[in-house]
């Protein structure tokens, strides 16, 4: 199994732990990932409001590069995953947008064909690798670890190609395969406020608080995420969000938990980058780790 890999900007910055754990996990599963040559920012949700059409062109460049590699394109970052998918949709739905994008690609000597399959790691784990293969590779089961799976918005909305939009379960199934216990988490697809914590702090903070409170209320010992921004928001502002009850709950990328189970060494899975040390929890739960 081999995939083109599109990290996106965050996975090189605040989301490094995501990239490290992701690569480790797929290595352990014997899946080859080849980083996309000279990729550029997908434009995220921010560029659109500045220049809608340009944002499609930016995404298209990556898609065109990937198409040349002739493999499915894995996009772990929820925002990237959305934007790349969306671009393909819009170019199809609006011929005039397609025309503009084509011109732009032409100008930089890239083929117009951007019809590469954009896929999320969870999609690949479930449908290509398969849960059985995954189970087989588990060396340190996460037995008894209560996890709240937080999907956020953009992995499932608006294009949930491989999971249910209103009640996604892909991450649950993958983590259960590693022996973890998934707690009831009614806000699993609610919004974390995205960049709002930076721009309208108090509002962003309220959204973050809601997510943390629910996780705590439902007895979660860790929160698993699929998006660098979600992970950052939930982890970085726990003190700020704390009110009467103080929040102290590890917020990890689902790939980090996978890595743990697959026997990847902690600091090869980016745990050293967490603000909250995971070891006491693992000790308490008697979960072995490398």
């Amino acid at each position: 199994m081999k995939y083109a890999y599109y990290p996106g900007c965050s996975l090189k910055g605040t989301g490094r732990a995501y990239e490290e754990s992701l690569l480790a996990v797929f290595r352990a599963l014997g899946v080859e990932l080849e980083e996309l040559e000279d990729w550029n920012c997908c434009g995220a949700t921010t560029y659109i409001s500045y220049g809608e059409l340009q944002s499609y062109a930016l995404a298209a460049r990556n898609l065109s590069l990937a198409k040349q590699m002739g493999r499915d394109l894995m996009a772990p970052c929820a925002a990237c995953y959305l934007v790349l998918n969306k671009t393909q949709h819009y170019v199809r739905e609006y011929p005039w947008i397609g025309q503009i994008v084509d011109h732009a690609l032409d100008a930089i000597h890239l083929p117009k064909d951007i019809g590469v399959k954009v896929r999320h790691p969870l999609d690949i784990l479930l449908n290509d690798v398969g849960l059985e293969a995954l189970k087989a590779k588990v060396v340190h089961p996460l037995t008894g670890l209560k996890v709240a799976t937080y999907y956020g918005c953009q992995m499932v909305r608006p294009y949930a190609s491989f999971d249910n939009q209103r009640n996604p379960t892909s991450m649950d199934r993958v983590l259960e395969a590693c022996g973890a216990t998934i707690v009831y988490y009614p806000v699993k697809t609610h919004c974390c406020g995205g960049s709002q914590k930076g721009t309208l702090p108090e509002i962003g903070l309220n959204l973050i608080r809601r997510l943390l409170t629910e996780a705590q209320r439902n007895g979660a010992e860790a929160i698993a995420t699929v998006c660098p921004l979600c992970q950052f928001n939930l982890e970085a502002f726990q003190d700020e969000a704390s009110t009467t009850s103080k929040f102290h709950i590890p917020v990890l990328y689902f790939t980090q938990l996978l890595a743990l189970a697959l026997g990847v060494r902690l600091n090869e899975a980016g745990f050293q980058r967490s603000f909250i040390n995971i070891k006491p929890l693992l000790a308490e739960k008697e979960i072995a780790y490398a």
């Binding site: 995220a44 503009i100 919004c191 702090p201």
Partner: protein, 196 residues
């Protein structure tokens, strides 16, 4: 206390605006809006909005440009797509919000030093320059332009990020930066041609 007339006479309506919105990407179906309010109900931010998304849809399609573009609602949208997924008339509300943001920025319908448009501008500049985003630099640029003091509040967190290696000042960049610039320019020129 200053009282102003609130009754709207038809001449204050901007039909061109209403037409424009119904022609933007995602705006095609705005006229189908039933005003059921499901968008407002499903929106995580609506509790902070001056106009709920539902009301914004109505004001937009009726052409009340002032009200729409000066509304906080468009800036509060985090593009979580909850409204769009639930909308019974399949209206692409999130996309509409982008269009409105763009328009509001073009016509400067927002408070001075308002962070969100600044972020968008800086974001695009950075991409034009390097083709990728270096979060550390972006954050700093935005704070400098909006609320420098917030940098201080942020510094503690910043420090932790540096310590954990999650904030690197090293500039992320694409090799073929000229390609990015060309790409963006060509889009603009082609759009103008198509418009003609």
């Amino acid at each position: 206390m200053k009282l102003k007339r609130v009754v709207k006479v038809e001449a204050e309506r901007d039909p061109a605006f209403a037409l424009w919105i119904s022609q933007t990407v995602g705006g095609e179906r705005i006229r189908h809006c039933l005003q059921c309010g499901l968008c407002s109900g499903s929106c995580p931010l609506s509790l902070y909005m001056d106009y709920t998304p539902r009301r914004l849809m109505h004001l937009s399609r009726e052409g009340f440009k002032e009200e729409v573009l000066s509304s906080y609602t468009i800036w509060l949208c985090t593009s979580c797509y909850a409204c769009m997924v639930e909308c019974p008339k399949k209206i692409n509300i999130t996309q509409l919000m982008y269009a409105l943001k763009t328009r509001a920025m073009q016509e400067h319908f927002y408070p001075k030093r308002f962070a969100i448009p600044v972020l968008a501008r800086e974001f695009s500049r950075m991409i034009r320059g390097s083709g990728r985003i270096t979060e550390s630099r972006l954050v700093m640029r935005v704070f400098v332009k909006t609320a420098i003091w917030r940098l201080l509040g942020f510094s503690k967190l910043g420090l932790r990020l540096f310590r954990t290696g999650r904030m690197r000042l090293a500039r992320e960049k694409v090799e073929k930066r000229s390609d990015i610039v060309t790409l963006l320019n060509v889009v603009d020129t082609t759009r103008k041609e198509l418009a003609r």
